[in-house]
Symmetry: D2
Amino acid sequence: MVAAALAPGRPLADARPLGARLFETRRLSLEIAAPLSAEDMTVQAMDDASPTKWHLAHTSWFFETFILAAHDPRYTPFDEAFAYCFNSYYERLGARQPRPKRGLLTWPPLDRVLAYRDHVDRALDKLLAEQDPTPWRRLIEVGINHEQQHQELMLTDILALFAANPLRPAYREAPPRARREAREPMRWIDFPGGVFPVGHAGDGFAFDNEGPRHDALIHPFRLADRLVTNGEWLAFMADGGYETPTLWLSDGWTTVERENWRAPLYWERRDGAWLQMSLHGLQPLDDDAPVAHVSYYEADAFARWAGKRLPTEFEWEVAAATAPQEGNSLATGALRPLPAGPSNGAPRQMFGDVWEWTQSAYLPYPGYRPPKGALGEYNGKFMVSQHVLRGGSCATPRGHARATYRNFFYPHQRWQFLGLRLASEAA
Amino acid sequence: MVAAALAPGRPLADARPLGARLFETRRLSLEIAAPLSAEDMTVQAMDDASPTKWHLAHTSWFFETFILAAHDPRYTPFDEAFAYCFNSYYERLGARQPRPKRGLLTWPPLDRVLAYRDHVDRALDKLLAEQDPTPWRRLIEVGINHEQQHQELMLTDILALFAANPLRPAYREAPPRARREAREPMRWIDFPGGVFPVGHAGDGFAFDNEGPRHDALIHPFRLADRLVTNGEWLAFMADGGYETPTLWLSDGWTTVERENWRAPLYWERRDGAWLQMSLHGLQPLDDDAPVAHVSYYEADAFARWAGKRLPTEFEWEVAAATAPQEGNSLATGALRPLPAGPSNGAPRQMFGDVWEWTQSAYLPYPGYRPPKGALGEYNGKFMVSQHVLRGGSCATPRGHARATYRNFFYPHQRWQFLGLRLASEAA
Amino acid sequence: MVAAALAPGRPLADARPLGARLFETRRLSLEIAAPLSAEDMTVQAMDDASPTKWHLAHTSWFFETFILAAHDPRYTPFDEAFAYCFNSYYERLGARQPRPKRGLLTWPPLDRVLAYRDHVDRALDKLLAEQDPTPWRRLIEVGINHEQQHQELMLTDILALFAANPLRPAYREAPPRARREAREPMRWIDFPGGVFPVGHAGDGFAFDNEGPRHDALIHPFRLADRLVTNGEWLAFMADGGYETPTLWLSDGWTTVERENWRAPLYWERRDGAWLQMSLHGLQPLDDDAPVAHVSYYEADAFARWAGKRLPTEFEWEVAAATAPQEGNSLATGALRPLPAGPSNGAPRQMFGDVWEWTQSAYLPYPGYRPPKGALGEYNGKFMVSQHVLRGGSCATPRGHARATYRNFFYPHQRWQFLGLRLASEAA
Amino acid sequence: MVAAALAPGRPLADARPLGARLFETRRLSLEIAAPLSAEDMTVQAMDDASPTKWHLAHTSWFFETFILAAHDPRYTPFDEAFAYCFNSYYERLGARQPRPKRGLLTWPPLDRVLAYRDHVDRALDKLLAEQDPTPWRRLIEVGINHEQQHQELMLTDILALFAANPLRPAYREAPPRARREAREPMRWIDFPGGVFPVGHAGDGFAFDNEGPRHDALIHPFRLADRLVTNGEWLAFMADGGYETPTLWLSDGWTTVERENWRAPLYWERRDGAWLQMSLHGLQPLDDDAPVAHVSYYEADAFARWAGKRLPTEFEWEVAAATAPQEGNSLATGALRPLPAGPSNGAPRQMFGDVWEWTQSAYLPYPGYRPPKGALGEYNGKFMVSQHVLRGGSCATPRGHARATYRNFFYPHQRWQFLGLRLASEAA
């Protein structure tokens, strides 16, 4: 079980030795897959999503390719054909299974993918035990973080699959309904302007796109102390949010009309009540929980309707420095966004629950250069037409998020745990 | 094993009692599925194809809906939700899973589909044992023949799936290469003109679209005594067949250019040799075997290149009366088209190997009326824009084909075992 | 004016000398274009339609290519670049402007296209005056008939263009509303079965696809003595015709849903009344006039709703032999389908008003061979996936239609003057 | 003629009285249209482009709607139906002709559109003469600048139309080939970092998206002193630029493959030489002229290949303050990008020739709020997924460009005069 393996209270991941973290991460992938049948793991819900089996194999291919094949002269690849099957998008590494056809890979079967994982794990274990880590220590960290990203995708992609199934199956049994919190209005926190350093610094792991650390000029702003809730989203809908073109970006309105959007993804109206498809199956909508599965277009329209705006990524980052780096991540086992706890004067829900859309386009930081080699394709080549999201979600593995983390999606995408927090100019 | 279960030499299916034939047919579906994993059975290769699991469930739904629910008042449906999941195209029976999304049905899992089959089989067994068969005897025959159609589809759809897999897996191990036959030229058989009765008559089973039996005027014609071979197709290709627009129907040429067709479906050129993806995996092309997986457009272009034409469906039917109703069907276990045996003055390969494109559009016979009720949608509503194919293929279950049988596909479709036989005007 | 040039009462076209008919046809094209601006003549309403200017040029290119360039050694082409611009679909004659981009040809300007027509006409005049007609007499007939086909297209394509214009302009001023005929029920005429010769015979012009003349076996049938009217179509609509999937062919229903068809093309509901866009602009729907602009799918669904069927092309042809070869063609100047006159025991409206869908697929007649050379592409390469229409329409030039004429369109097409007449089995 | 009307040497536009500038702008639109036939003016080259006639009408509708109808109680609209025809994208102003169907508007005819312009001009003239300008003075400025934007579009849209024509017509006769400049290498100019005010300030006209003026932090950078040339682009191509996926953003490479891009838009290879379609027709490529008609994807790939990057919009704006606000705009009459003059230590070609892609996404400035009412849709609703371009082009009317101007296009678009200038981090 996910929750059992990563119960709250455990020490922070990064303090532990590299090998322990590596194999704990590898195990977590299998734990996430455990409730699923081979059938569930093979099918691709849509072009944007990937099958669980593919995630399990691809993350192994990643270690095999970038570490074992590159740095262990004794390593024998498990199967030469897997490079074609499980390369995601690395042009430097040759041809690959087209992304929308990952779900056709009934071969190799699951057992063989599990054997592949085992083969790679054993080789990694041997490498760690026997060799000088200098050339590949950083790469192991990349591999761990890469697999953590895919752990989140495994969950969101399974949700996409189950939401497309007329039986609306549950990934996990529904927990008892969350105790109703006393509802609190959104509160506003003021932040001063100034020149602030942003981007990653220090010893810990970060992706290349989080740097170089550099100064950014920030204008005074206000930030909501919690996420926008489902109840607030219902008010937007009741006020004609999805029928009022002037609330929307032009591309957003085109999308609303083409896709016939009338509510966030996974919301369904049955017998006059709103339900939400979730990893616990189809559940009553929780008014107090953060809204999730909204696109940038929707988040932007909501903010306009509310007379506010989305924060920039640097506003968010500066504010995050004042908040505890904890929240409702995968480690809580909730597997869904939860209502905010009582207000405390600091920004709440900054980490966990849902990734937060920012108004910042995903672009390189000043002086950014992608790493040499195929890993240079990891982040840099996606720096156009997407928006940055910050924070983390209820599907983000423990220890994976941080204040400088830059997640990114296209403005129309909704299948991740994506939500929003309002901002505005200083009063 | 398919071959074991249906070895040649067994008596013709229809002579045996209804129940025996019914349950043999039900078993054969499972035998066909036996070599496949749950993963293989769940995925949909393309919009035109369906997953094996869906075929297994849909054929059971067919018996449940048209016989058990309709004629057995004691019958309890296995799962009310299955009507949505496994209705194929019956508008009278309500909403259904969209055809291109059948592959998303990881739920219900295979075990539950197998339990569904078992539930239906037990109920059918009880029905047959205890009730007056008058109201549903014909429906059982329809159900048997319906399931037989899906047995052929299970094999062609699996081939489509495995052909899309970069590992090119084999459904079954490759047999030793067929002994090379002495090649014989195509011979021509003359048939006189006249008014002939066509369409089904008599006691045996036939689909509604094979009647009413009626007179047809046939002009004197000649028919090739065997199917067109891969070797002959190679000559067409070598002569620029796929590069010469004037050989093609206009829609055909548009398709050639849009789809970049350069050979039949499933042909691959590697290291200067032509291979063919098959149920035995990727195999060397057999020059003497009948060409398969060609569209109507291609069959028509080949005939034009050869200075001949395709037969009409009635020419074929009249000629078939002179040929033995046997051939390389599913029962031979070959699972691939085989070279014709020695010529014998009669048309060879009329049944089995590949379905034969005719130049006849799939249209209603004079006086045709579809049956009342939902079964009226079985055949009648597809009578536009398709062409009739006659004969049967190496994936057609024993006893399923007959001289009056009308198969039909769109002119661009290729994933079935589709080939051709040449015809011409009388000399 | 169209009507003035081709007033009723004139002798039948074909009795007059070739040259007179040729230049009358050439003039008629200009008369049809006369009410249009250069702007109207340049724009392409949709992929299926062509600009008037293109029609004017293409018909000239046809004479230039197949007659002047081929048979007059002294002929100098007007402009070498026009072959690319104005070849329609002749693969043997090289590359050409893609069909959906004919509307981009603002160059050559209209004046130059008119000069092109003039250049070709002068050369044809000289050819006719000075040379032995044996080699090209038949080609001149083909050219005349080809241009007549384009005259009908000019009108239907202009209607498509004006119907897409929010101002709903009229091609010609509306005539006073037709006097209301006393409504008569549809009557049925019985025809015996038998073997009948069908297809063209004799001296007059016919297209290659009308032959060879051959025997066809016809079963006894009944045919309505007039076309289906708008009023009858309203009854179909009122009875849920467009909302009842079981009335439709499967492809038809898919089209209804995808295109959101709720009425024939060009019908518009305004303030509770049905209007119809026409060459006279937006006009009140005439209940007694034949329904027009319906697809094969709609015609077939209507017939099923009415408990009847569409005739086969040979039933129609046999019946047409009993009817006068006259009707509401382009020559009447009405430019719209008109109510049937009083019943007279014979089939009415067999020629003119609207082309009549038949249930016959457009396929080659027994022994059909396309002509040698590029003209072989005229009709033969379209013999798949289309249905035959018979009769002629209110936009068909006088003398162009005949009992053996085979028009053909795809089952989804509606922009021509397409309607239907019911048939059924003999009582 | 364009050049005659706006010859260099005239005083800057904004110094002259409002009415004079207004009517000069209105006249210039007609001058731009003058070389075109009604046919040329009616057709739409592609979805992104609009017909000249539509531009002429839409710019008049703009004045009519936002000024005359709103502020002149005596004004009578020319034709109520024109609001539907000529509203571009203002949701607050109701339904409108779909953008991809603007080319179907053969009605209203050109004469009527010209009469519409005249009607609007007379009413504006009267308004200016007789009424207090306070309420609409700013709106007149908006209308002038709006029409200037459409003047540039008229030229780029005509180029798109003529480039799609197989005759490759010229909008204007080709001038004698530009004298060959001595080629100079690109030189680099260093700019210090710091906090700089950016955005529009002061009395002159600016669009709402150029403000609010605010401080921006800029890091030290270097900027090329001229635009990238065709010759340099040829070197990129010769080095496999269009065949090397690792040079491209992921979306860019997908586009290269899907669209089969192998050179900038409008480049054609004939007989071994590169030609370029231009407003002067098909011309030999000028190696020394700035490259034009490249997408953001291409500009970005070129910069990566060159080991540089694109500037940010604020880097560009700061640098532009050091450059003369003059260049090869529409007023020079060249109608094509010209080689840079001799280097002079300052950035050359900052205004005119081609718009310069920046790496900045088109997003709102801090504190930006769109204007109230329908004009709020002018710029704000497009602030997603586009990139900012700076500078101006050879089709930009004199006086329209300025250092704070923000043009914006999608990263795949190429039909405008779009080019690039390289930047890099400070040494």
